[in-house]
């Protein structure tokens, strides 16, 4: 059986599921709207059995032979809310929650031992600074960067490399009083630095690399699906291609990445212990490939559709073949 953990309403996931249905390959999908209402873990020295249930559906993890972690998390029901309302808001409840998260981590660990697997919850939040380190180790070019909290240091770096770009160190997205905010990549010039305070919160400053076009690579078990994004033609998206007005789209076309770059990406992903992800590269005006970041659960539909790659079908097929191999 195939198990999929994903987010409700994700259209790319839905399309993968439709291929599985089309091929009559049985699967169970657990989304963030599903609540795991029962967990059973039974360990002896000889064997262990882990079962999770939602509604009346029981999943014995030993029966899962292919697993796809798309995104999101497993949601467990905290029965205490119902049975002990008096402590629902108390510190003891926090303690119980922590206990639950240990169980959840263990269940994710068990899922990640499954033979045929795409994605992993534990790699969901891979540190961007470590990513850049790994990229350097496999000899992928990266933009020079500093993390700094003072103007003088930024000024020195600016004098050295010229125009800078800044973006989130870990996350590009936050919720403030119920509103979602995206943090796009922005340029920093001398006039911006002049307005900086002496000291500020730690911020990432990257050398701004002039690009001819951007490249988005969807990686799946050693295979690279690459797409070029011509964002330079569009003033809205010159710095960050996600920043676009409705009705104007950047040209996105299939791309052949040179074998030597693909091999570096494969080595990079092995280092990250990731078997899938979306990698952002830029092809610089100097004709070099420069690594920006990997997103463990990026939208592969935005690569698959314009390039007509049928990535959804390949993912479904990988899972289906995993079942045939393991059962």
């Amino acid at each position: 059986m195939i198990l999929i953990v994903g987010q409700n309403g994700d259209s790319s996931t839905h399309e993968v599921l439709r291929y599985l249905m089309y091929w009559n390959a049985p699967f169970i999908k657990i989304s963030d709207l599903d609540t795991i209402d029962n967990v059973s873990i039974q360990c002896t020295n000889r064997q262990h059995e882990v079962t999770i249930s939602k509604d009346s559906m029981k999943v014995n993890l030993s029966k899962v032979s292919a697993y796809w972690y798309r995104r999101g998390n497993l949601v467990f029901q905290y029965k205490m809310n119902a049975t002990h309302p008096e402590i629902a808001e108390s510190e003891i409840h926090d303690f119980v929650k922590k206990e639950y998260s240990t169980i959840a981590n263990y269940i994710h660990y068990c899922l990640e031992q499954i033979g045929t697997r795409i994605g992993a919850f534990s790699k969901n939040n891979i540190n961007k600074l470590i990513q850049l380190q790994y990229a350097k180790e496999v000899k992928l070019l990266i933009p020079r960067f500093i993390i700094s909290n003072n103007r003088k240091e930024v000024q020195r770096f600016y004098n050295d490399v010229g125009t800078l770009a800044t973006k989130g160190i870990g996350n590009n997205f936050t919720n403030l009083s119920g509103q979602s905010y995206w943090m796009f990549t922005s340029l920093i010039q001398q006039k911006d630095i002049d307005r900086f305070s002496e000291k500020f919160a730690y911020t990432l400053f990257q050398q701004y690399v002039e690009k001819e076009y951007e490249i988005r690579v969807f990686y799946l078990h050693g295979k690279c699906y690459s797409m070029a994004i011509f964002s330079q033609q569009n003033p809205d998206s010159m710095i960050d291609y996600r920043r676009m007005r409705a009705g104007r789209s950047n040209r996105t076309v299939p791309y052949n990445l040179p074998k030597v770059v693909e091999n570096k990406i494969i080595r990079f992903m092995k280092k990250c212990e990731m078997n899938t992800g979306s990698i952002d590269l830029i092809f610089t005006s100097k004709g070099e490939y420069c690594f920006l970041e990997v997103n463990p659960n990026g939208q592969f539909g935005m690569v698959s559709k314009p390039c007509n790659y049928f990535i959804e079908r390949d993912i479904a097929n990988y899972l289906k073949e995993g079942v045939m191999k393991n059962e």
Partner: protein, 345 residues
């Protein structure tokens, strides 16, 4: 780029726009596919003036970008494969007061065939509660959209029809035809559905099959499907008001009745699938037309009714002159119109 007998059509499938391209420009594009601008000029196959205007056309319309010579092999041709994870992609069901087939069974079967989009056409003035009795069987099924046409029932109000759609979130459009006035009942900023009244009486079976630029589809799915299949009929199925299963409601051939055969059996019949493979490259005249891969086609009403490879009757376009004319006023089409009993209104 699709070459017609007189000019070509360049289809930008990402932005869903097409451009007419005269033949000298389309020839220049062909040469430029494999050579740099400098090389193309040296080859002397195309005049420098044409090359320059071709480049200008491509760059100003954001159809291409100027890159160095080495870049050519980095940009492969796009894969033109078509695939779809379902045996049936959509279905039309005609319904009248006497339709007594098992909707529950039909919707369940459509779901197992992977069908996501459904059109229901109710030709009698059913009451809303009668329509609800049909739609309730679609609830909880994995359908994505239901398009609903119903004949106006004068005792039902605008609010009643809007309420019907609000009750069944899978309905994307409701058209109440035979109404007193044509008007849209849902505001522009409305939820994800439209409810509209249409004053005309719609003749579903004989009114279909019109080929017109308004209906052209410049998408990757449609374009690639048209290379191997008939886009009007491939993986589609229909049921008429008496339960008769057909490729399309306007086509004569019956493949049995839902009361005695299953949709799955029919959908898998070799005979049923035969017409799916009639591509535009096999259809006379259409095969020379630059619109052939964005056209909707029609196999129900043909210019020569006895010839399965004849072009659609209700197409007024002539690829030899690049002119559109009103198809129903064309004297050459009168005989076929009589055949299909399509009297002039």
């Amino acid at each position: 780029m699709v070459k017609g007998v007189k000019r070509s059509l360049l289809c930008d499938l990402q932005n869903e726009i097409s451009y007419y391209v005269p033949s000298d420009i389309s020839h220049a594009i062909d040469v430029l596919q494999a050579h740099s601008i400098a090389e193309t000029k040296e080859l002397n196959l195309v005049s420098a003036k044409i090359i320059d205007s071709t480049i200008e056309f491509i760059v100003t319309n954001n159809l291409g970008h100027l890159l160095s010579r080495q870049s050519i092999n980095k940009f492969p041709d796009i894969n033109l494969e078509w695939d779809y994870p379902a045996e049936i992609t959509n279905c039309i069901i005609d319904i009248n007061r006497n339709s007594d087939f098992d909707f529950s069974k039909i919707f369940l079967e459509l779901e197992s065939l992977g069908c996501q989009d459904l059109q229901l056409r109710i030709e009698d003035s059913l009451f809303i509660h009668e329509i609800e009795n049909i739609l309730k069987y679609a609830d909880g099924r994995m359908l994505k959209s239901i398009q609903l046409y119903v004949a106006n029932n004068s005792s039902e109000s605008d609010e009643g029809y809007i309420g019907l759609v609000a009750k069944f979130p899978r309905i994307t459009n409701l058209f109440v035809f035979n109404s007193l006035l044509s008007k849209v009942l849902t505001p522009d900023t409305a939820p994800a559905y439209t409810v509209a009244r249409i004053a005309d009486r719609i003749d579903f079976k004989r009114g279909c099959g019109i080929v017109h630029p308004d209906w052209f589809v410049t998408t990757m799915e449609h374009f690639t499907e048209s290379l191997k299949f008939n886009t009007c009929l491939n993986r589609k199925i229909s049921i008429d008001e008496n339960g008769v299963i057909r490729n399309c409601p306007s086509l004569g051939t019956s493949f049995g009745n839902v009361k005695s055969v299953t949709l799955t059996e029919v959908a898998r019949m070799r005979e049923f699938r035969k017409i799916w493979k009639v591509t535009k490259s096999e259809i006379e005249i259409c095969q020379l037309c630059e619109f052939r891969h964005i056209c909707t086609d029609c196999r129900a009403f043909l210019e020569e009714p006895q010839n399965v490879r004849s072009k659609p009757l209700k197409c007024g376009y002539d690829p030899y002159t690049n002119q559109w004319s009103e198809w129903s006023k064309n004297p050459l089409k009168l005989k076929a119109m009589d055949f299909y009993e399509l009297g002039l209104a």
